[in-house]
């Protein structure tokens, strides 16, 4: 009979494996089918590895079999919260290649739609972000105010989410006769509602404790990872395309590029709230001055781009969106590449979230405003 012997192990001798947790693809706080492979030590995050491709739909490949007039409607489905900006990017790129001058009226309408879309995008982000942090009320308030913008969209272009309003050569319809009145009424209403957002969430002590100083992204890192949009500007990286390469009617308006310095979760949050105020200022400058005239130039049914490579970038609600077209002179593009802001922003998460708790990871991910079809395309 073997002799019973007690064994004591010191902590140095115990070997443990990494504790890996799959966050997603069905996790509600990843806002879509994103999988984060999180390496944990207790509640502490050691490493975050994003796995993407669950909603890959091959839009870049599909564009190769479509004409340039048909392509914008597919870009609606990428970043569905910035559908009009995506349409506009493709339209501007095609117009640049054909050297078509768009009527002034179309430029003004496009810019107003851009800013309305940006407000709508930030509203939805705000309400979803509040929900990530455990505040359900924000979700209802954000959607309530977003509804007004969607009604304006519906009235003018017939769709609420997938607009397909900006087409090469201008916009698809003229604005509705009630458009200016409705936009003014919305701005008046929303100027009163936006401080409510601040009282409800920004000032809240629990919210501040959870976001201030959490998940700091330095300016160097932001530039290295190509983090653009409000997330990049919160770190002090001046990257607003509306200022750097003004397109449409942005050269005619005065506005500030809102910058942060801290680069933490709270700065990224608050910068978007301030951006909504700024967007309303831009709309107010334009809404009364829409020039008379045509809303689109007549384009041929089948548009052929001259041989060459063309690039156009615009500022969406999430950052810099780029369209790169290689044309071989046919009616379809030879290759079309989209530079989506979400893709670059997502991969900065690993550096930021290291060392923070898993609940902070949700907050950090929320402030990057990820739209998964935009990442996967």
């Amino acid at each position: 009979m073997a002799e019973y012997k007690e064994v004591y192990l010191t902590s140095d001798e115990i070997k443990t494996d990494d504790y890996l947790v799959n966050m997603g693809p069905q996790h509600p706080s990843t806002h879509g089918v994103l999988r984060l492979l999180v390496k944990l030590e207790g509640e502490k995050v050691l490493n975050v590895q994003p796995h993407i491709g669950y909603i890959h739909s091959g839009i870049e490949k599909m564009t190769e079999s479509l004409t340039y007039i048909q392509i914008p409607h597919l870009t609606d489905r990428m970043d569905y919260l910035a559908a009009h900006m995506n349409n506009e990017a493709v339209s501007l790129c095609v117009e640049k290649a054909l050297q078509v001058e768009v009527p002034e009226r179309a430029k003004y309408i496009r810019t107003i739609f851009d800013e309305l879309q940006r407000i709508a995008s930030h509203q939805l982000w705000w309400c979803a972000f509040g929900m990530d942090m455990g505040a359900l009320t924000t979700f209802f308030y954000g959607l309530r105010d977003r509804e007004d913008i969607l009604d304006i969209f519906e009235e003018t272009c017939g769709a609420r989410l997938t607009l397909n309003y900006s087409i090469p050569g201008g916009v698809m319809f003229d604005i509705h006769p009630n458009f200016q009145r409705d936009v003014k009424a919305f701005i008046k209403k929303f100027r009163a509602k936006l401080p409510e957002y601040e009282r409800l969430l920004t000032g809240n002590v629990i919210f501040r404790e959870r976001t201030k100083g959490v998940g700091i992204l330095s300016k160097e890192e932001a530039i290295a990872y190509g983090v653009t949009g409000p997330s990049g500007r919160a770190s002090g990286f001046s990257c607003d395309i509306r200022k750097k390469q003004p397109y449409s009617a942005y050269p005619y308006v005065k506005f500030n590029e809102i910058m942060g310095t801290d680069g933490d979760t709270f700065t990224r949050y608050h910068l978007r709230i301030l951006e909504m105020f700024e967007s309303m200022d831009i709309i107010e400058q334009l809404i009364d001055n829409i020039p008379e005239g045509d809303y689109a130039v007549k384009m041929k049914g089948v548009t052929k781009l001259p041989e060459g490579e063309y690039y156009q970038r615009v500022e969406t609600g999430r950052g810099e969106f780029g369209v790169y077209v290689i044309s071989d002179g046919k009616k379809n593009p030879y290759r079309m590449k989209f530079r989506s802001p979400g893709f670059s922003n997502l991969f900065a998460i690993n550096n930021i979230a290291k060392g923070w708790k898993i609940a902070d990871l949700v907050a950090i991910m929320g402030t990057f405003d990820l739209v998964i079809p935009d990442i996967d395309r």
Partner: protein, 160 residues
């Protein structure tokens, strides 16, 4: 002593911020006329849909069962995802000339992305966007529609 005052000050300050948020929600709780909820299936009769709303592609017919479609096939070409199929037939007019006419204008609602490109392409405004948005059906085959009504004819005066 200072640290104690700071400690309690932070607690009281925190409570004030929480109450500020509560005040916002309480205001809406006691003023229900500010709410915007719509009771959808019940308010169908009064529901207002924008006139430009892109619900589905329809082909309007007049009282004599006539439409404006000349079977030119431009909508089929403009459609990015093959939702429209044009099946044409040959008819002889009173002078004995052979002419193309629409036999079936097949519209696959299940494939449609409501991009409005077919309506832009149509030279005779034969098809327009309808406001109906309730597309639920029991079987998938019901989503394939024939837009021209049986026995319908081309309206007089419509030229290609």
């Amino acid at each position: 002593m200072k640290s104690i005052i700071k400690y309690f000050g932070e607690i009281i300050g925190g409570f004030i911020t929480l109450l500020t948020g509560m005040k916002v929600t309480a205001r809406y709780f006691f003023t229900p006329w500010n709410n915007v909820t719509q009771q959808y299936p019940e308010n169908r009769a009064t529901l207002k849909i924008a006139e430009r709303f892109r619900g589905e592609v329809i082909m309007p017919h007049n009282e004599n069962n006539e439409h404006r479609c000349t079977a030119c096939g431009l909508c089929e070409l403009a459609c990015p995802n093959g939702s429209i199929e044009i099946i044409s037939k040959s008819v002889f007019n009173e002078e004995g000339k052979k002419k193309r006419a629409i036999d079936k204008h097949i519209y696959h609602l299940g494939m449609c992305t409501f991009c409005n490109l077919c309506i832009r392409a149509c030279p005779t405004t034969a098809i327009v966007m309808g406001q109906n948005f309730e597309h639920t059906v029991w079987d998938r085959s019901e989503l394939t529609k024939v837009l021209n009504k049986p026995g319908s004819q081309l309206m007089e005066g419509v030229k290609e």
